[in-house]
């Protein structure tokens, strides 16, 4: 285990002790798992689709510089303006300058993980620009001054009564609300409609950008995305450098893979595609901010880079036994769950993120559902090795594994160890290694129970019986 004072080991304990959170998560993840399995089952060529998805994403990553330049050319040709940002500070500054350049102090936003990664809302707030989240779950999180806990359902940790109380306090405008989801959704519709009609600038993320044509794609459910992408005069979209597909037919593959993996729908209610600007339809100014922020560094790791194939569907979160119990906040990152456990340490490399490669049982369920076949367990093991070799090692663990490897190297040493243990079995069995044991041993025993040592080892039993049967 990696040695850090902060990070998953301590934050997960806090989350696990919250029984309301655990109940919400369990209900939500099992419902969405079931939906996904049903609609994935309808596609008999699902495996072929996954392989195609993997292949297309790898093609992009292998030639990323060329595709980015191609995208820049095609977006520019269609009347869009392309900006480049090395890190979050540069991206934030570009966006702020655009907003201030138009003399605005308010912007509306479509749910975007990339802008969460930038800490954009907080940055804008420091400069007297208010960003209004328009996705229902993001609105809930924003009103509660909370943090998202799931890629797709950021408010998965809140149940209807909690949301009702929050809305009653904040946006109900005097009406008395019930805890019916339909009424709560209606409340947000009424609250946000005026914002949509009056805002001059919208900020969005990007699901896919087509290099060949400069087309940008945003998928969503509620229609808040369409509002933001259509009504304001200025649209600013932020994308990580990896969010590219080569051509239109490649995009079609992901329009099949993403909704089924993500919300468990055959297709999400709304998908918007636009190419630059159109006279008389939609924004008259379109800015595309292309963000690196650590991604090119991830690209340099031949095993770790497959994390950049990710299309942010969140299927891996919903099947993960660790996520289901710990929830998203325990990961202390914009990207939680199994994908977060391999993305966050590589992208950000913060001290707390270095514990994330251990936040997994390596059961492999995430790999099985991943629509672009990211071998998450492989990357996790690879990152564990990397973190340890960078000196974040625990001496106790290193010593125990040193001992284990000594005794396991030859059968003679192994039997010697067995004989010692058998000789002292009464004493060892009596000891009951428990969490009251000192140091690392006690920690280890918190979640494990030692088996009782038998009177005789299997090896001895085998010899005795083989001799008896004369074989």
């Amino acid at each position: 285990m990696v040695k850090t004072k902060i990070g998953f080991p301590s934050s997960s304990v806090r989350q696990i002790n919250n029984s309301q959170l655990r109940a919400n998560l369990k209900a939500a993840t099992s419902a969405i798992r079931e939906k996904r399995a049903r609609v994935v089952g309808e596609k008999e060529d699902w495996e072929e689709l996954r392989r195609k998805g993997e292949h297309v994403r790898d093609e992009i990553l292998n030639n990323l510089d060329s595709y980015l330049m191609q995208l820049e050319r095609s977006v520019t040709a269609a009347g869009g303006i392309v900006h480049w940002a090395r890190d979050s500070a540069e991206a934030n500054q570009i966006i702020l300058s655009l907003v201030q350049g138009h003399g605005e102090t308010e912007v509306i936003k479509v749910k975007s993980l990339t802008t969460d990664e930038l800490g954009l809302n907080e940055f804008l707030a420091q400069h007297e620009v208010t960003a209004f989240e328009t996705d229902l779950a993001e609105l809930i999180v924003q009103l509660a001054h909370d943090k998202p806990s799931h890629i797709l359902v950021p408010a998965i940790h809140k149940n209807r009564s909690e949301i009702r109380d929050l809305f009653q306090r904040t946006i109900a405008q005097g009406r008395v609300l019930s805890n019916e989801p339909a009424e709560l959704a209606e409340t947000s519709r009424l609250y946000l409609r005026q914002k949509f009609l009056s805002s001059k600038i919208a900020i969005s993320g990007v699901n896919f950008a087509v290099a060949d044509t400069g087309t940008v794609c945003v998928v969503e459910s509620e229609g808040n995305g369409r509002m933001c992408l259509t009504l304001p005069k200025v649209l600013i979209s932020v994308m990580g450098i990896e969010k590219i597909v080569p051509g239109p037919d490649d995009l079609a593959i992901f329009l099949e893979l993403l909704p089924r993996s993500s919300t468990g729908e055959r297709m999400n209610p709304y998908t918007s595609l636009w190419t630059g600007v159109y006279p008389g339809d939609g924004p008259s100014e379109f800015h595309l901010v292309i963000l690196d922020n650590g991604r090119s560094r991830v690209l340099a790791d031949p095993i770790g880079r497959q994390a950049l194939r990710c299309i942010r569907c969140s299927a891996c979160l919903n099947v993960c036994p660790v996520y289901e119990r710990s929830g998203g906040h325990a990961y202390d990152s914009v990207y939680p769950g199994p994908i977060g456990a391999i993305l966050s340490p590589q992208l950000f490399g913060t001290e707390s993120s270095l514990s994330l490669p251990w936040a997994s049982t390596l059961c492999g369920a995430c790999y099985e559902v991943c629509p672009v076949r990211i071998n998450i367990p492989q990357v996790l093991v690879h990152l564990r090795e990397k973190v340890i070799s960078q000196g974040h090692r625990s001496r106790t663990e290193a010593m125990s594994f040193g001992l284990i490897s000594f005794f396991f190297q030859t059968s003679r040493r192994f039997e010697l160890l067995q004989n010692i243990a058998t000789r002292f079995r009464v004493l060892i069995n009596h000891l009951h290694v428990s969490k009251s044991a000192p140091g690392a041993l006690g920690k280890w025993a918190e979640a494990r129970e030692l088996p009782q040592l038998p009177r005789e080892t299997f090896r001895l039993w085998w010899r005795r019986n083989r001799d008896k049967n004369g074989k």
Binding site: E47, G223, R226, S296, L299
Partner: protein, 223 residues
């Protein structure tokens, strides 16, 4: 603009990508306008799904599954079907895109018809009850309508702000699979794919129809 005055970030990002890709055995292929057609490595498993079901029946089922109301109609009956929907839902005003076939709504009687010439302000569009449009094409296996800014579909705002959307689909434009989408629609047009009315599952994953887009979607399939 920031990008023209300061080229440094662009150069740095592209250079760090180049050096990341340089230090290992990566096959640098020439740019392709699409690799999907080339096919993926490994053994493909081409099993056509559910071929037995008629494409239009599948389309209807999938639409209904996502709570769109579906009506099948003969071309001659279309004006009556639309008039029926309008009166049944007490729709008082409709907006139509400039290129919509006027015979479609000839029977709606006293209902106010607004022609969108592109100059109607958004708050006025938002106060209109319903919008009637055609569609470029549709996808059966997902129950998806494809709008792309054609004269019979209008600009994107007209199908977004009214609370009712009546969409007429000619049966011959219904394709079976998502895969074929971009051979039927020009990707550089302003495209909106619509699958059912707007919805959210953000509260306890309970699906609620109707958040910001039209809360009622009526699809008339015309053969």
């Amino acid at each position: 603009m920031a990008n023209s005055s300061d080229r440094q970030p662009r150069v740095t990002v592209l250079n760090s990508i180049k050096s990341a890709l340089a230090n290992k055995s990566v096959i640098r292929a020439p740019l392709s306008a699409g690799v999907a057609t080339v096919g993926a490595p490994g053994t493909p498993i081409p099993v056509p799904q559910n071929r037995s079901q008629d494409t239009l029946d599948l389309f209807e089922d999938m639409l209904a599954d996502y709570r769109a109301r579906v009506i099948r109609s003969e071309a001659g009956e279309l004006p009556l079907v639309i008039a029926g929907l309008v009166s049944q839902h007490k729709i008082k005003s409709v907006v139509v895109p400039p290129g919509l076939d006027a015979t479609w709504y000839q029977n709606i009687g006293e209902v106010k018809v607004v022609f969108d010439d592109g100059s109607i302000p958004f708050d006025e569009l938002a106060s209109i009850d319903a919008v009637i449009t055609g569609c470029t094409c549709a996808i059966a296996e997902t129950g998806t309508l494809v709008l792309s800014g054609q004269p019979y579909e209008g600009r994107r705002a007209v199908t977004l702000l009214p609370d009712f959307h009546i969409c007429v689909v000619r049966s011959e434009v219904v394709m079976r699979r998502v895969k074929n989408l971009f051979s039927h629609v020009t990707i550089t047009d302003p495209i909106t794919l619509i699958s059912g009315p707007s919805a959210t599952s953000d509260i306890e994953l309970k699906r609620v129809e109707g958040v910001h887009g039209p809360r009622n979607l009526f699809v008339v399939i015309v053969s």
